[in-house]
């Protein structure tokens, strides 16, 4: 195949024919179109004339071009051009189709699958043995290649989905090597990225890219076609919180044009359904830049709920960065027990704490009571004023509370605080004069009570404090201020460099005790604990044995202090976050968990830990003020216990970047593998997702109720990078995978050429004068023919192109066609104009009267009111749509059949949605009150199925008697009798003026009116407007009354209780008089 850009030619030899076009040009020029022949009697006169233009007239240029175009098109058509040609395999031997199948393949997966399917189809046609290998499939490396029937592989192919990790070319190496001398052709659908490979400490990747190695090996076996994307997938990298904003890098493997991508942040209340998009930021990739940062600023509360970041429009796992608890900005309450010294901020611990915490958390100074959500006492209120006001609704809002030199706490607050800690709060205390005084006081108390006995352990302190601290390096002391020792490995500060500059001159001391429940997170060089911590309930109490300001030590002045605060903040449980019920109980509590490290884990931790020992944290001590992602492996990796434990996925990404809850039966992952994955990105078997430490049930002796930490594993780990795949062997054919479908242009070109030829024929006729005016029909016929050829050709082209595509369009078309509403003309009319309906009883006589009666009412309505209904319509309750009518008049006859369920449902819906059902038993004045008339009994039977409200006789001041005319009764052909309406609709008007309708759906408008006096008979008139029935006593006056009631009924149906204020008219008029 020969290709020009996106155009390929299957028969390029035809293109040589284009060289003959100039010849054709001359030929066409020399043969002008046939002349026009004209009958002309005066020829004889012409015969003697000397024609000065003897040279033959040339073919007109436009005609020449037309013919040339047609010829060129024909040649092009026969060269069988293909737009976006697909890769075609070249040889006839066995065919190996290799698919990378990682997340980087997900964006154009359908194109990949299509290309592979095409190759399979071709192979099947040629009967070539074929094998299909996905490099990202989980499982052991392949031992050997097994070539088989290509058709059989199609099912496998269609079931293949991109994996959320990177492909591993080494999977195939062995099999290729084992294939011996047997040659085969390979089609490799790669993702354009270098394979994931370990890097040395310097960040250099040793050796060859495994992909390149595999490509070499494959090229040695036979022709190798590499089918890759034009632009490899872009990914999100290294989310971190920096300076209060969430920062994420967008990386790409190949530098290219300038590009701006938008990164969306998804989160929100986890109880309010799936994560919503709550924010976004742009990352502007400069030309040729490989990465750009997006900084997403979000309110802390919102940021704490974030679930993931995702590049907009990118559908693959690499474009998603899952965020775990570490990315929640903690909210920390700062409570000071120090004396306020106005104007001397550097002597206040608050100042240092604020400065150290602000990069990591939202720190807020408040009172302890406010932090606990307790009502403020007078002093606190005075001190914090508006602050506490604002804090009050956020009771328990803090993830951590820092107490700077708070000594005695009032019992109520203390109790609340202890409870808060036991629920999982992190309490960080700094020593100071007050705490020291408290220690002395406590010691004295306990001595007084029982000599020798230890003071009771304060639940809010990790250790018992000795009365009186120690002072080092004072004027009268020989000792020197002590420096920090290296942090113990099980400390959350592990990895931070214990700065030499820090010196401690004064501290409070812990009482040594037999049972050491506390853990020491930092020591001085002489071994004295400087920072101690103790689990209290589910929470933790941490004590800095020095002040938060610089009078006892230089710690608050050191950069280390900020880093320590950062680590502490990371320790803080996300009490208020999306995973609120699960606090990130970091694995620092080694003392507890070590004993719990089960035998089960010991086995698989042993060897694995040796080979994939996570790097100890490096550089974190140097990093000034950010929780970078290094904290993630640190969370797992710093604690041996966590490494040994099992982690269970709770949510996982698929290759397309969709997050779904993980199967609860998903196999847990050993900690050290997870640590590796967290650093390097997801790998086969460890899908990106959120992992939770398998709870107590997994570990014998695990603390009941311990909440597991959560670690997010992303497709692209912080220690890996995206690099383009460059090591393709020279022999390989590189082709770009195109998303677009292959389109054979031949039919379209042929059709176009034929059209041109048809036009040429027309033009020749025209020039020769054969195309006369009376022949437009023929011309248009030709033109139509040509057009239909074109259309047909294009259809053929599309059909060819879409042959493999699922027939969406056609399958969609059918239901659309059938779903075209066929609206009954009567219903259409009823919907478009105002139509009063009557129920067809099936008794022709009754229906006729109904029609006549409603027609009479309609005429009167039109004449007297603004309501101008159209001709009334009959309704079959069983079949017709009732919703288009507002009033249904239902004469009850004994011959009416029972309602079917469908009709009942319809009637119920009609009444529920605002329709007015007017039932007329025509029993004269025997309704329900004075013993049933014959039809009323029947009505009872009919109505039992209906969902009717309780009914009652309409009172005299019911709205129905007030909507248009003020009526006293509702006579029909018979004497006025009770009209029954839904009870509660009787517009008992309260003083507030609104109809008291308790929970009625229709604003207290009765959905049903039942009468018995044959109104419709009174309304009925013939064509000429003469009454159809004789009126009983009362004559025309009563007929008029009946009509007025009919008008009121219609008004009631159309205006509802709008006229209910008419009931007040007396009162209103009275008021006007005054």
């Amino acid at each position: 195949m020969f290709s020009l850009g996106a155009l390929g030619f299957l028969q390029p030899l035809f293109l040589i024919g284009l060289a003959a076009l100039p010849l054709l040009w001359l030929l066409l020029r020399a043969t002008p179109p046939r002349p026009k022949r004209v009958a002309f009697p005066g020829v004889r006169v012409l015969l003697g004339l000397d024609d000065r233009e003897r040279t033959p007239q040339r073919t007109p240029l436009w005609l020449l071009l037309l013919r040339m175009a047609a010829a060129a098109l024909l040649l092009f058509a026969f060269a069988e051009p293909l737009l976006n040609p697909k890769a075609r395999t070249v040889s006839a031997g066995p065919l190996l189709i290799v698919m990378d199948g990682g997340w980087a393949s997900a964006p154009d997966w359908s194109a990949r699958r299509g290309a592979a399917e095409d190759a399979l189809t071709q192979a099947a046609e040629q009967g070539r043995p074929t094998a299909l290998v996905s490099l990202a499939a989980a499982g052991a490396p392949l031992e050997r290649l097994s070539f088989g029937d290509a058709d059989a592989l199609k099912d496998r192919l269609s079931a293949l989905e991109p994996s959320p990790w990177r492909p591993d070319p080494t999977r195939l190496m062995k099999a290729v090597a084992a294939s011996g001398d047997a040659g085969f052709e390979t089609l490799w659908l790669h993702d354009g990225l270098e394979a994931l490979r370990p890097r040395t400490a310097g960040g250099e990747s040793p050796g060859l890219d495994p992909k390149a190695q595999l490509a070499e090996a494959l090229a040695a076996k036979g022709p190798l076609t590499l089918l890759g994307p034009a632009i490899p997938a872009k990914a999100l990298h290294k989310p971190s919180i920096r300076g209060g904003a969430l920062t994420v890098e967008v990386v790409r493997a190949l530098g290219g044009a300038e590009e701006t991508l938008r990164v969306g942040a998804f989160g929100g209340d986890p109880n309010a359904g799936p994560a919503r998009r709550v924010g976004s930021a742009e990352a502007a990739l400069a030309a040729d830049a490989l990465s750009a940062e997006a900084e997403i600023e979000l309110p802390v509360q919102l940021r704490n709920t974030l679930e993931r970041l995702q590049i907009d429009g990118a559908r693959h796992a690499g474009a998603v960065s899952l965020l775990d608890d570490r990315f929640r900005r903690r909210r920390i309450a700062l409570v000071s027990g120090e004396q306020e010294r106005a104007g001397l901020p550097l002597l206040s611990g608050m100042h240092f704490l604020r400065a150290a915490l602000s990069p990591h958390a939202a720190a807020r100074e408040t009172s302890l009571r406010a932090a606990m959500g307790l009502p403020e006492d007078a002093v606190g209120a005075a001190a914090f004023g508006a602050e506490s006001e604002a804090a009050a609704p956020l009771a328990g809002w803090a993830d951590a509370i820092v107490l700077a030199d708070v000594g005695r706490i009032d019992p109520e607050t203390e109790e609340a605080l202890v409870e808060w800690v036991r629920k999982g709060g992190l309490l960080v205390r700094f020593a100071g004069p007050k705490l020291a005084a408290l220690a002395i006081e406590r010691e004295r108390d306990s001595r007084r009570r029982r000599a020798g006995a230890h003071a009771e352990l304060d639940p809010l302190l990790p250790v018992r404090l000795r009365g009186g601290g120690r002072a080092l390096g004072g004027a009268l002391s020989w000792t020197k201020p002590q420096a920090l020792a290296a942090f113990p490995p099980d400390s959350p500060f592990a990895g931070l460099v214990a700065s030499e500059e820090v010196s401690v001159a004064r501290q409070v001391l812990a009482q040594p005790s037999a049972e050491s429940t506390e853990s020491v997170w930092a020591r001085l060089k002489d071994g004295t604990p400087l920072v101690t911590a103790r689990d209290e309930g589910e929470g933790r109490v941490v004590l800095f044995h020095v002040t938060a300001h610089s009078s006892w030590s230089t710690l608050p002045l050191a950069g280390l202090f900020a880093d320590m605060m950062g680590r502490l903040v990371a320790e803080a449980p996300a009490l208020s976050g999306a995973f609120g019920d699960v606090s990130a109980r970091e694995p620092g509590d080694a003392s507890k968990s070590k004993e719990g490290a089960g035998d089960a884990d010991a086995a698989n931790s042993g060897s694995a830990a040796a080979e994939a020992a996570p790097r100890p944290l490096d550089g974190a001590g140097g990093s000034s003020s950010s929780i970078d992602n290094a904290a993630a492996p640190a969370a797992v990796g710093s604690a041996p216990e966590a490494l040994a434990s099992l982690w269970r996925p709770i949510a996982r990404l698929d290759g397309y970047g969709g997050l779904s809850a993980a199967d609860s039966a998903a196999a847990p992952v050993p900690g050290e593998r997870l640590a590796a994955a967290a650093r390097l990105g997801a790998s086969a078997g460890i899908a990106p997702g959120i992992y939770e430490r398998a709870g107590g049930e997994a570990r014998a002796g695990g603390r009941a109720g311990e909440r597991a930490a959560r670690i997010a594993v992303n497709a692209l780990g912080p220690e890996t990078a995206l690099a383009p795949f460059v090591g393709a062997p020279a022999a390989a054919r590189m082709t770009t995978l195109s998303e677009t479908e292959e389109i054979a242009l031949k039919p379209a070109l042929l059709a176009f050429a034929v059209t041109l030829l048809a036009l040429d024929a027309l033009a020749a006729l025209f020039i020769a004068g054969r195309l006369r005016a009376p022949r437009p029909a023929a011309a248009s016929l030709l033109l139509a023919l040509a057009l239909s050829l074109v259309a047909g050709g294009e259809r053929a082209a599309f059909a060819q192109g879409r042959a493999e595509a699922p027939p969406d369009a056609s399958s969609n078309a059918a239901p659309n066609a059938s779903s075209d509403l066929i609206i009954d003309p009567a219903e259409r009319r009823a919907a478009l104009e105002t139509v009063i309906g009557y129920v067809k009883t099936g008794d022709a006589r009754v229906d006729e009267v109904s029609m006549a009666g409603l027609t009479g009412l309609q005429r009167v309505l039109t004449r007297r009111t603004a309501l101008e209904p159209g001709a009334p319509g009959g309704v079959d309750l069983e079949k017709d749509e009732l919703g288009v009518y507002a009033i249904l008049y239902w004469p009850i006859t004994s011959r009416q059949r029972d309602l079917t369920d469908g009709a009942v449902r319809r009637l119920n819906a009609f009444m529920r949605t605002g329709g007015l059902l007017v039932v007329d038993t025509q029993d004269a004045n025997r309704t329900f009150s004075d013993g049933d008339g014959p039809n009323a009994a029947h009505l009872r039977r009919l109505l039992t199925k209906l969902d009717l409200p309780p009914i009652e006789p309409a009172s005299r001041d019911h709205v129905i008697n007030r909507t248009f005319y003020l009526l006293d009764g509702a006579p029909g052909r018979w004497r006025s009798a009770d009209v029954w309406v839904a009870s509660g609709s009787s517009a008992r008007i309260s003083e507030s003026g609104s109809a008291e309708s308790d929970g009625d759906v229709n604003d207290g408008v009765s959905p049903i009116v039942i009468g018995s006096v044959d109104w419709i008979g009174a309304w009925a008139e013939d064509d000429r407007g003469r009454p159809l029935f004789p009126q009983g006593r009362g004559g025309d006056r009563r007929r008029e009354q009946a009509l007025r009631f009919g008008i009121n009924l219609a008004m009631y149906a159309y205006t509802g209780n709008y006229k209910s204020d008419q009931v007040h008219i007396d009162a209103l008029l009275e008021r006007l008089d005054n």
Binding site: A39, P41, G42, V43, R44, V45, L46, L49, R54, Q57
Partner: protein, 315 residues
């Protein structure tokens, strides 16, 4: 319609389609008769536009109509003296009648192929216009008591006998509706005719030599006459352009040009020259020549012919 004309018509029709069935023959005959009728009507209408006033030779001669009384001169036969007139005076008067010797007018209406042509610009064929003129002229002449004869353009046609009267007129007009097969009309053989007048109605697109020879022959026999060249408008305006093959109606002649538009001036000049030559020959033969375009009204030509004829006949 006169019976004779119909007979002749039918005869020719029978000749054309000898094996036609009777109904077909009848329908053809009826349509032919309709043509004849319409020609008759048109010709009558046309003739009515020309009122010649007192016709006659306007000189004394052998006739029935009183012409004048004149004093008897010596040598007048006694019997010619009108005694009643002479009795009113002393002198003798002779009653003279107008000379009413009937002249023969020979009409040639060219109905050859080239005359059977009509362009879009013209209301009717040249031949039709010619027939119309010929018929109208025949009507006028018959009314004037002259003898008319319709000469056929067919090469070996029998020499027509001049005739007079309505029946003859009918036959003549019927003959006028019969088309000729020849492609170009040539002046007819005059036969033994001497004296009288000749009227030629043709486009004169035949061989120019034949036309000039015809004029000469007529002149040599002392026949003077009138030649009317009837042309279609496009034959004068030549509204053509582009690559065209011009063909005569019978396709015997053709002329191909690449750019007809460039020929227009030459053609018009050539046509004018041809006309001038024919007109010159006519003048020398004592004929009068006129041109007529079919998109123009026929009355002026008819008037011109009638005036000319009455002048020369009575002059």
């Amino acid at each position: 319609m006169s019976a004779g004309g119909a007979r002749q018509n039918e005869r020719s029709l029978r000749g054309d389609a000898p094996r036609s069935s009777a109904p077909r023959l009848r329908s053809v005959a009826e349509s032919a008769a309709a043509t004849h009728d319409s020609l008759m009507a048109r010709a009558t209408r046309l003739a009515a536009t020309v009122y010649l006033g007192a016709h006659g030779r306007r000189r004394p001669g052998v006739g029935e109509t009183f012409w004048q009384y004149r004093r008897a001169s010596p040598g007048d036969p006694l019997g010619s003296v009108d005694w009643r007139r002479s009795a009113r005076s002393d002198a003798l008067f002779v009653r003279e009648t107008e000379w009413e010797a009937a002249q023969t007018v020979r009409l040639w209406c060219d109905r050859s192929g080239s005359m059977q042509f009509r362009s879009d610009a013209a209301p009717l064929e040249k031949a039709d216009r010619g027939a119309e003129l010929a018929a109208a002229l025949a009507i006028l002449l018959t009314r004037g008591g002259e003898r008319t004869a319709l000469m056929s353009g067919e090469p070996r046609a029998a020499t027509p006998r001049p005739g007079i009267g309505e029946a003859h007129l009918g036959r003549l007009i019927a003959t006028l509706t019969v088309d000729e097969a020849a492609e170009f009309g040539a002046p007819p053989d005059l036969g033994p005719a001497r004296g009288g007048r000749v009227v030629w109605l043709s486009d004169f697109f035949g061989e120019e030599a034949a036309i000039l020879a015809g004029l000469e022959a007529a002149a040599s026999r002392g026949l003077s006459g009138f030649a009317v060249q009837i042309n279609d408008p496009i034959e004068e305006t030549f509204p053509f352009d582009g690559r065209i093959v011009f063909e005569s109606v019978g396709r015997s002649l053709s002329y191909e040009t690449e750019r007809a538009g460039a020929l227009k001036r030459d053609y018009i000049e050539a046509l004018a020259a041809r006309r001038a030559r024919i007109a010159e020959a006519a003048r020398r033969a004592g004929w009068r020549f006129m041109t007529h375009r079919t998109d123009e009204s026929a009355s002026p030509v008819l008037l011109w012919l009638a005036r000319g004829l009455s002048e020369t006949l009575s002059g």
